[in-house]
Symmetry: none
Subunit: 254 residues, 2 copies
């Protein structure tokens, strides 16, 4: 994208004033609202502006944070059902690695009453939630904190996790494609997820129904590396066949 002078001016104005109404901007550039909306659409899709009903604002982590919290609410009931099913299947006293994701945070909440767990995570929220469980040893991986979702990623994180070997690796992902690949958006998080898979005797995948056929850029792993898939609705075709071939057990939470 190459912004034109007006769009650059627009960014300046917004940055100078924090937030501006579209009306004001349209008047200041002497264009119609519709034209201005097109500019705003481009700039906000590029992440240079955050928009709200009636105007725009400089993007900030508060807004990103809210976006994440909203995502957390998406399919909340489904996530909680999956989380509960997983918590039921996790035996007391075992060791786990839990990665980034809104579903895995729900799992952490369901694990608050388990006894004698040892949990390793690269998710600050999971660590904070589980630190309330006095009978759970929480180990947080070191590394750079991503402000969007408070995930910890990077080379240092991978090295840290490599020190361990646990009973169960719990991973959440962005999408499962019909070629049997598990995918995510951020390659740094993918590196972490791969390490988790490598260091777990058993891999459990948490994915609600919206994840099937959802495209995402980077390949995390193949379905065949997964032991059990926890989901909230029977997977659509051709996934049942794929799961069968790959030897993945599938548990659908009622």
């Amino acid at each position: 994208m190459t912004p034109n002078p007006r769009q650059l001016d627009l960014l300046d104005q917004v940055r100078a004033r924090g937030s501006v109404s579209l009306e004001t901007l349209a008047a200041s550039f002497e264009v119609t609202l519709q034209t201005l909306r097109r500019d705003v659409k481009l700039l906000s899709e590029a992440g240079l502006l955050a928009r709200f009903h009636g105007g725009v604002r400089v993007p900030g982590s508060t807004t990103e944070n809210i976006a994440y919290r909203q995502r957390q609410l998406l399919n909340e009931a489904a996530k909680q059902r999956i989380a509960r099913a997983i918590a039921l299947a996790v035996p007391e006293g075992c060791s786990l690695i839990i990665n980034i994701g809104t579903t895995t945070e729900a799992i952490a909440r369901e694990l608050l009453r388990h006894k004698g767990l040892r949990v390793i995570t690269n998710n600050l929220n999971v660590a904070a939630i589980l630190s309330d469980n006095a009978d759970c040893e929480v180990i947080v991986a070191g590394g750079v904190v991503r402000s969007r979702d408070r995930g910890i990623v990077g080379e240092a994180t991978v090295d840290f996790i490599r020190q361990f070997k646990v009973d169960i690796g719990l991973i959440g992902i962005s999408g499962i494609e019909d070629d049997g690949s598990l995918r995510d958006f951020d390659y740094r998080e993918v590196r972490v997820a791969q390490t988790i898979i490598e260091r777990s005797r058993e891999v459990w995948l948490a994915a609600d129904h919206s994840k099937f056929n959802r495209p995402a850029m980077v390949e995390v792993a193949r379905l065949s590396q997964v032991g059990t898939l926890f989901t909230d609705a029977p997977p659509p075709s051709p996934f049942p066949a794929l799961l069968g071939e790959a030897g993945v057990a599938c548990k659908v939470a009622a």
Copy 2:
């Protein structure tokens, strides 16, 4: 959903004042209560606010360690003054290590508007607070999470921190004794604090007046290892002399 400026303002007001009634907020924004309730509903569902009958307050997990929260309120004004003084002294764009403690959390809050910081911490709360600053690289040390205060301690933490060397090490402690020793209660945290001192070009100590002559078990360091002491009231005798001997600058926050 994308939050509008009023909703962000609302968050600021609540964060600044701890808790506010809906009436007050509605009056301050000149909207009806109903509109305000809609904002509050969204923000609290996103976990950014906690509401009670008649108003809202900053969120905090109810299962959270209450003793620790109470300690956090202890000498709160003093801590905030110290925190502000330290934040003023921290130059933009520098690298820091921040350790465990309620004072250091206050410092983190005061650093939210700094630009270009690189912060390493073994405190989950500090990491969570600073991850809201989009212009700050937060690195969290790996290790075992202590549920009492969400501090990260242990051998792995020490090893992790040893990788770095930063401009300023910010440490808070439990007590300063009149033999010139800095002391704390948990030897594991002491090991971390010692490593921080070792890996910092300059050491700043944050300690409110209650810390002078307060006994604690484990020796962290000697006063002579400290560059600057930030406190809220002139230290009692014999500390002025001790500080002078040890070559420690002392800044009293008004």
